[in-house]
């Protein structure tokens, strides 16, 4: 079994009142190349900074080789960082930059005194040792002979190499890399990816890499940790993550995807886009599922030979392949193929069983805790909505004084009653008129599902509740909207049914 060099246990981090890391736990095996991948603001850099010691977790523990280092300052951790914008010391030349860490270092040397007794002394490294180590590190990054050069005379790629040399010269147990290739051009980035991978192989130390570039993550990593919204979405090898994304977010973020709503209709049979397909995942019958099909897994054929048939609506040349969008009934299917098709052409399409990935939908309905207010409205998710309270008591009605009269003729004042509020995925609308709905929020996620968008709106108040729903309209992420729920679509149940008789 591999050794866990770093382990995060229930780590949570707040910046002021903002939750950036939400109860994250995972471990890193000794010697592996692990990548934190996610969109900006997902918490990947903060996680890295907590391992480096620049930020401290609000709660939870970070273990290094089993020892708690959560509160240890960065200068006492055996890790080194390659910073996003290199952070080289401008007043020092290449040699002095690389030697910086070595000059801070104290090593324990063992000596024998005249009586033959051993004793140890904490000593600085000698000038000769430092020179040798620096030269070796510069050689490793192909910068021999650059010792005397000033930092400002170096190109971006060379500065990058100095930053790497400056970190690895200290022989850290873990090398942390914070989007180190972000500032380089594409060609340079590809070269450095290969070199970093090679360096990892030669040094044999653990690399923790942060990037928002999924291709980079897939190319370089042994393990990928996909993060979004301060939460780990999936941990796995690049192949696992690409082929078996655990939810639609991962599928959407890693590579291109067609995502559809589907239903399981038989043993290893799933229905989506109006047709039934064979698949390899087994789910319970009649269960709603998210279906992910990679564009390269959609195979084009003659119209009559395909399980699906549709009209090509756009063809875009992408270099290695064409991206072809096909309208199949009300659904859109995206295909990647080396063959081209003409716009307006009718084509058939097939998907092999192993090209169809099913996943349990993360959201099937919206559930909130709510409280009934004075006027028989319900308060939840930072807002107040009109609702039908008579559904709580079968056969009841509201009298003219706004009291609820039960079937037995009993008069009840429901003010303050705690209820569970449930709203279906298709029962929510949004509007850009802030006063149109019961609460306001901003759009935090939008995923296209062939014929509609699945949208998540997070409320602005302190509840920070999420509304998940389907919509036909295209909005923008971070748009501020108000959330509208029709009165008859709010399903209420009593939270404490035992209260009923009061």
């Amino acid at each position: 079994m591999a050794e866990h060099i770093i382990e995060l246990q229930n780590v949570t981090k707040y910046f002021d009142d903002n939750l950036v890391i939400d109860n994250v736990s995972f471990y890193v095996n000794k010697g592996e190349f692990i990548t934190f991948l996610g969109p900006s603001g997902c918490g990947k850099t903060t996680t890295l900074r907590m391992i480096a010691g620049f930020d401290l977790p609000t709660s939870g523990k970070i273990l290094l080789n089993g020892k708690d280092i959560s509160l240890l300052p960065p200068n006492r951790r055996p890790v080194n960082t390659v910073f996003q914008r290199y952070a080289l010391f401008p007043h020092l030349n290449v040699f002095e930059n690389v030697a910086f860490g070595l000059k801070c270092k104290r090593v324990l040397n063992t000596y024998r005194n005249d009586e033959g007794k051993e004793y140890t002394k904490k000593e600085r490294l000698s000038k000769k040792e430092i020179r040798e180590k620096v030269e070796k590190a510069l050689e490793l990054v192909d910068l021999e002979g650059f010792e005397k050069r000033s930092i400002s005379t170096l190109s971006g790629g060379q500065q990058q190499r100095v930053a790497i040399a400056r970190a690895i010269v200290n022989e850290p147990e873990i090398l942390l890399l914070d989007e180190p290739l972000g500032a380089l051009d594409l060609k340079m980035r590809k070269e450095m990816q290969i070199e970093l991978k090679e360096m990892h192989r030669r040094l044999g130390i653990t690399f923790i890499y942060v990037t928002h570039d999924q291709e980079e993550a897939l190319t370089m990593s042994d393990t990928i940790v996909v993060m979004a919204d301060g939460v780990v979405q999936q941990i796995g090898t690049p192949i696992d993550i690409y082929n078996e994304p655990s939810n639609t977010f991962v599928a959407d973020f890693i590579g291109e995807s067609n995502i559809f709503n589907g239903t399981v209709v038989g043993e290893k049979k799933v229905k989506f886009c109006g047709k039934t397909f064979d698949c390899v995942d087994d789910f319970e019958r009649n269960e709603p599922v998210d279906v992910v099909v990679r564009p390269e897994d959609v195979l084009m054929c003659a119209p009559e030979a395909g399980a699906l048939r549709g009209t090509v609506i756009s063809v875009v040349f992408k270099g290695i392949h064409y991206e072809i969008t096909v309208q199949v009934g009300k659904y859109e299917v995206v295909i990647q193929s080396t063959e081209s098709r003409k716009e307006g052409e009718v084509i058939g399409m097939n998907v092999a069983p192993d090209g169809i990935h099913l996943m349990k939908p993360k959201y099937t309905s919206n559930v909130f805790d709510g409280v009934i207010t004075k006027h028989n409205t319900v308060e939840f998710a930072d807002g107040e909505f009109e609702c039908d309270v008579t559904q709580l008591y079968p056969g009841s009605h509201i009298d003219e004084e706004e009291y609820l009269v039960t079937a037995a003729g009993e008069k009840l004042d429901l003010t303050g009653t705690e209820v569970k509020v449930e709203i279906g995925l298709n029962d929510i609308e949004i509007s850009d008129d802030e006063n149109a709905g019961g609460t306001t929020g901003h759009i935090i996620s939008m995923i296209y599902k062939g014929d509609h968008y699945r949208m998540i709106v997070r409320t602005d108040g302190e509840d920070e509740e999420d509304f998940v729903f389907a919509t036909d309209d295209l909005w923008n992420e971070n748009d501020r909207v108000s959330v509208i729920v029709p009165k008859d679509k709010i399903r209420l149940t009593l939270k404490h049914p035992e209260d009923k008789k009061k």
């Binding site: 480096a52 620049f54 200068n75 010391f89 007043h91 000059k103 970190a167």
Partner: protein, 262 residues
């Protein structure tokens, strides 16, 4: 012939200014410094200056006062500038403003206020050198804080992090990152405090109870009686100033400091 207006012509007003207010006066000083009352060329002023112990001691006193003033300003300004530059406080410009606003109040008024204060405490006329230095520190402190603050503001937070990441503790980071990177600010702060505190005799006159004579006072007095000697002292001061600028310039390493000439 058409008149061609070239961009260089925009410099004409300044060239005229330079000629009448810089170059010609300098030549006049040079001329007076090396002539006697009969306008004959002579080294007499030069020899006389360096053979007169009171004149030499004035130079030494001026230098010492300026050095102490500069050192005290640096000691006060450096930590403040460091804290302000690194703090994430939203209202820090208020604190900065508090340091700078005295500069906008009339200089003579400020010195008079200190004078009143000292006389009220009973120090006026008692501790002349202390009073002079106190007045100068009070007067020149903002000129030290501003360049220091602007240089330190430019030091990226990631450099402190990199230093800690590489194993440096707080003191090592100060020694090997903060101090060297704030050198340009220190240099321009020193130039902006050291030079005026050698020549600003208004402070020494008013707070030193006219017992403290600095080199600037000297020049002023000679120009009342002996232009030749006055010019020579001015010339010597010029050389001292030039030397000290050159010395601190070594710290600067071609860096230009924002706000250095605020």
């Amino acid at each position: 012939m058409r008149l061609h207006f070239s961009r260089k012509m925009l410099g004409i007003p300044y060239v005229v200014f330079l000629l009448f207010f810089v170059i010609i006066p300098m030549l006049i000083i040079l001329f007076y410094a090396f002539t006697d009352r009969e306008m004959h060329f002579s080294f007499a002023n030069f020899i006389q200056f360096f053979s007169d112990p009171t004149k030499l001691s004035t130079i030494v006193y001026s230098l010492v006062i300026a050095l102490i003033t500069t050192a005290v300003c640096l000691l006060i300004a450096y930590p403040v500038a460091y804290i302000l530059a690194r703090s994430k406080m939203k209202k820090k410009f208020v604190i900065l403003l508090l340091f700078v606003t005295p500069m906008w109040i009339n200089f003579v008024l400020r010195i008079n206020a200190i004078r009143e204060l000292l006389s009220w405490i009973g120090l006026l006329g008692e501790t002349n050198y202390f009073n002079t230095i106190l007045g100068m520190v009070y007067d020149f402190l903002p000129f030290m804080i501003l360049p220091l603050y602007t240089t330190m503001l430019k030091i990226e937070e990631s450099l402190y992090e990199a230093s800690a990441d590489l194993g440096a503790g707080g003191f090592t980071t100060f020694q090997r990152v903060t101090l060297p990177l704030s050198m340009p600010g220190i240099a321009s702060g020193i130039t902006m405090v050291f030079l005026p505190s050698m020549t600003n005799y208004v402070v020494s006159d008013m707070l030193g109870n006219s017992k403290v004579t600095i080199i600037g006072k000297f020049i002023y007095e000679y120009f009342g009686t002996n232009w030749h000697m006055g010019s020579m002292v001015a010339l010597i001061l010029l050389i001292v100033v030039f030397l000290s600028t050159w010395l601190t310039g070594g710290l600067r390493e071609n860096e230009t400091v924002r706000g250095a000439n605020l």
